[in-house]
């Protein structure tokens, strides 16, 4: 059963919200969720996500949002409740991070396999142990083989806008995959910034008709067995299983196109202050000899450093990844076309390669590019450590050095004392 947008029009977060606001990233995410009008949100507190679900609960309590809120007893059930809601036709949302995401992993992996369109904010947090409640990308990076789309935001406005877009992306018939909107714990979650609220009616028009369970449903009017046993070595088992997996990969591939179209549509409707690079942002890259690569909120400081280096005559540019999963291979190839040295800054660790995960993904793109390029992995901002303009001056200097000498096999550990 689908609810048309007009039926729900009575509740809106935008009407009573001022057009311009100063909000923290977590509140911006909550406002984006409310604009998208989900049927069901399931919540469980965890630092630094907690204020996000608190805000949702308040929006619902105040009648500014019409959704069923489920205070589940843990993240595992949070995601499971939403799976049930989605299979019954509901638009669903939750948020978590760090240990919560780890606890959620069993249903998390399954959500993409069942092609359930769902949105989950990851207010990114570093992995434990060592024990820490601070930001980092280790949680989101650790689940990157689980078939979810992952979009990383740079600013509070981008958090709000991307959260709305994520619902339409997830439900797009060519995609039908769950989406993580990743916003940096502490820096974005608690960082207040000026945001412009999009108009609710325009958002409703952008979202179109909800269509969540046309492909897989638990509905007595359409009885079916959801997720029968497949696989093994006999009968049609293996090919059925492979068909599922290939379908997930096809949805991922389509997502690159849909994300691009959606960002364009969004900016056209709401104006240039709502325009964000959908896959890869190229910043001051046109005549750059070398570039640094960033992800998430660190990009602000990195851009400042690039601006200062440019002012000092350095031919340095910046490449920001927004869409990490699916990895934007062609867009990144385009960004790297003229670059002669590259420094990649990660806020998490790839233990297999002794480098950052984004760095390691980029190496594969360089292979596709067919061009040898000295590239250096930088790992910083772990567990809430600052990545300042000064930090990025160091990154820029060390990347520039690669124009003269080969890159080291070891990552450069920023924020390290050695």
């Amino acid at each position: 059963m689908n609810t048309t947008t007009t039926e729900a029009a009575a509740h809106t977060v935008a009407e009573r919200a001022p057009q311009l606001m100063l909000v923290e990233g977590n509140e911006a995410a909550a406002l984006g969720v409310a604009l998208a009008r989900p049927d069901m949100v399931a919540v469980y507190p965890i630092t630094p996500q907690t204020s996000l679900v608190e805000k949702l609960a308040k929006l619902i309590a105040d009648g500014r949002m019409d959704a069923d809120i489920v205070d589940a007893e843990g993240e595992h059930s949070v995601l499971s409740v939403l799976q049930g809601g989605a299979l019954a036709g509901g638009r669903t949302y939750t948020a978590t991070c760090g240990p919560g995401l780890a606890f959620m992993f069993e249903p998390y992996f399954r959500t993409s396999g069942m092609r359930l369109p769902m949105v989950m904010t990851i207010v990114t947090r570093d992995g434990i142990t060592p024990q820490s409640v601070w930001g980092g990308h280790q949680d989101a990076m650790t689940v990157r083989e689980a078939g979810w789309i992952q979009l990383y935001c740079e600013t509070v406005q981008e958090v709000l806008d991307t959260t709305v877009m994520a619902f339409r992306l997830a439900e797009h018939h060519d995609v039908m995959l769950p989406v993580n909107v990743c916003l940096d714990g502490n820096y974005l979650s608690y960082g207040a910034a000026r945001v412009e609220m999009p108009d609710q009616a325009e958002v409703d028009d952008f979202m179109g008709r909800k269509d969540v369970n046309w492909h897989v449903a638990l509905d007595p009017l359409r009885p079916m067995a959801v997720d029968p046993l497949t696989g093994g070595s006999g009968g049609t088992g293996p090919e059925t299983f492979v068909r599922y997996r290939r379908g997930q990969c096809a949805g991922m591939k389509n997502a690159l196109r849909v994300i691009t179209e959606m960002h364009e549509d969004w900016a056209r409707r709401f104006g240039d202050s709502h325009r964000f690079a959908p896959l890869v942002e190229e910043y001051r890259l046109d005549d750059a000899e070398y570039a640094i690569m960033t992800l998430g909120s660190m990009t602000g400081a990195a851009k400042d450093a690039v601006d200062e280096a440019r002012a000092a005559g350095e031919k340095v540019g910046l490449i920001k990844i927004k869409t990490f999963s699916p990895f934007p291979v062609e867009a990144l190839k385009h960004a790297l076309r003229d670059v002669r040295a590259l420094g990649v800054v990660d806020r998490s660790v790839n233990f297999r390669w002794n480098c950052g995960p984004m760095f390691q993904e980029t190496l594969a793109v360089l292979y596709r590019l067919g061009r040898q390029l000295p590239a250096q992995s930088f790992i910083g901002g772990l567990a809430g450590a600052d990545l300042t303009v000064a930090t990025f001056h160091r990154v820029i200097a060390e990347t520039r050095a690669l124009l003269e000498r080969p890159a080291a096999d070891e990552p450069v550990w920023l924020n390290a004392k050695d």
């Binding site: 489920v70 843990g74 949070v78 499971s80 409740v81 638990l218 046993l229 497949t230």
Partner: protein, 451 residues
């Protein structure tokens, strides 16, 4: 679906030959004190004797209201016939030619010459309320009405496909077919990993074993997923039953958090646990519902260990402490009780969390012949190893089938191979545990009675 009928059952072990049933019959049917006219006759095996009668010595001469009655077959006048509505063999005096062939045809002495009238006479079950049964002081006579369920539900659609791949004689298959047939088609059914999907409820490779929407939740998240389904239908104003048929392992061990959370939140779910006391589908491993002493493949019997060394977790009692809308235990050996509880659980699941814990003997994992399924299930109750009760927040806990004169638990234990190795000390431990459990449940039942 054919018709089934009630019958008057006779337990010779309980009959002391007092004859009160015959007195009652003669009085009601003929207004007579002459018990020779009674349509029910209790006779001493081997004829009259001056020795005091021993239990088991008496036999019953009574019309059995046969399904394939020989008296009807041999009657040349069409005076006898099986009544399709009541199941009683009716005798039509106007057609009877008094040839008495029927009295020869019957093996049970169920139709005989009445010397007073000079014609045959036979039991008509007093229109379904036989006077002899309440007259019996020892409980040797019972009017068994179990057939009522068959007649009531027999024509309801079996919502599982035929030919599920359960073990031969699987009690769980019997239970789930009954349960879903009662709950009906407007249901979303969750069957977490275990015997139920293992036998094909969710099907294999694109087929399905169930006629209602059915799914594999994770072993860990059944209650949470169902809660989401139910809430979304409530949101859009549709009445859909959300039902789980889950094993004891998933419910009491790894899925317990999800179960407890959903119960605490009062999610409108009918959660039925099929308790076969272990992970039977994966090859009989121990769960927290496995009883003390039981052999399982992870509590084997060897030189150092003699089966499970801990007692079972009492999951239904734990669910009571969630203040669920309805909690009950049930057994397939007591079908009327089970159906009654299904009805109540179904109704309660529209108001809150309904939890039904059904003991389900496993012929494969418990090591007994498949034909003895119901026998084992019944002995569990008759020995108070399993107690049948129900609970609501309003009226508290009440026994539905109290057993006041229980069998020794050894009678139950020896019916199964999984307890074959038990030492006398282990049997004593279990007997003590039965008593302790019973005291515990009784205490709660007494609290309910005091209200």
């Amino acid at each position: 679906m054919g018709q089934a009928y009630s019958t008057i059952a006779f337990d010779p072990a309980k009959c002391d030959g007092c004859g009160k049933c015959m007195t009652a019959c003669a009085s009601v049917k003929f207004d007579s004190t002459d018990t020779t006219r009674s349509l029910i006759q209790i006779v001493r095996s081997g004829g009259a004797s001056i020795e005091p009668p021993r239990p088991g010595e008496f036999e019953l001469a009574l019309c059995r209201q046969c399904a394939d009655p020989k008296c009807v077959t041999v009657c040349p006048a069409g005076a006898l016939g099986k009544n399709g509505a009541t199941g009683v063999i009716d005798w039509d005096a106007s057609k009877c030619v008094d040839c008495l062939l029927c009295t020869i045809g019957c093996s049970y002495a169920g139709i005989a010459l009445d010397e007073h009238s000079g014609r045959v006479s036979k039991c008509d079950t007093c229109d379904g309320k036989p006077a002899c049964v309440p007259a019996c002081p020892t409980g040797a006579l019972r009017h068994i009405t179990t057939a009522r369920i068959y007649n009531e539900v027999g024509s309801w659609e079996d919502l599982f496909a035929p030919g599920l791949a359960g073990c031969q004689g699987c009690n769980t298959e019997l239970l789930m077919r009954h349960a879903l047939r009662r709950v009906g088609p407007d249901t979303v059914l969750a069957t977490p990993p275990g015997c139920v999907p293992g036998m094909g409820s969710v099907g294999f490779n694109g087929t399905t074993g169930t006629k209602v929407p059915v799914f594999h939740p994770l072993l860990t998240n059944t209650a949470a997923m169902l809660a989401g389904v139910k809430r979304q239908y409530e949101r859009v104003g549709r009445k859909v039953t959300a039902m789980a048929i889950a094993g004891d392992g998933g419910a009491s061990d790894v899925g317990f958090q999800s179960l407890s959370g959903a119960a605490e939140r009062g999610e409108r779910i009918l959660f039925m646990v099929v308790d076969n006391e272990g992970y039977m589908n994966t090859g009989m491993q121990r769960s927290s519902c496995t009883p003390y002493g039981a052999w399982t493949s992870t509590t084997p019997v060897g030189e150092h260990t003699r089966g499970k060394s801990q007692d079972a977790k009492n999951l239904p009692m734990i669910m009571i402490n969630h203040r669920c809308e309805y909690v009950a235990t049930a057994s397939t050996a007591y079908m009327e009780d089970l159906y009654d509880k299904l009805d109540k659980a179904l109704a309660a699941s529209e108001r809150g969390f309904a939890y039904l814990h059904v003991y389900s003997p496993c012929t494969t994992g418990w090591r007994f012949q498949s034909a003895l399924n119901i026998e084992v299930a019944r002995k569990a109750v008759e020995s108070n190893f399993v107690t049948l009760w129900e609970y609501t927040p309003e009226s508290g806990l009440h026994f539905t089938r109290p057993v006041n004169d229980p069998l020794p638990v050894a009678d139950y234990l020896k019916a199964m191979g999984r307890f074959r190795h038990l030492s006398p000390e282990q049997v004593e431990h279990i007997q003590n545990k039965v008593a302790e459990n019973l005291r515990f449940v009784r205490k709660i039942a007494e609290q309910a009675d005091e209200r």
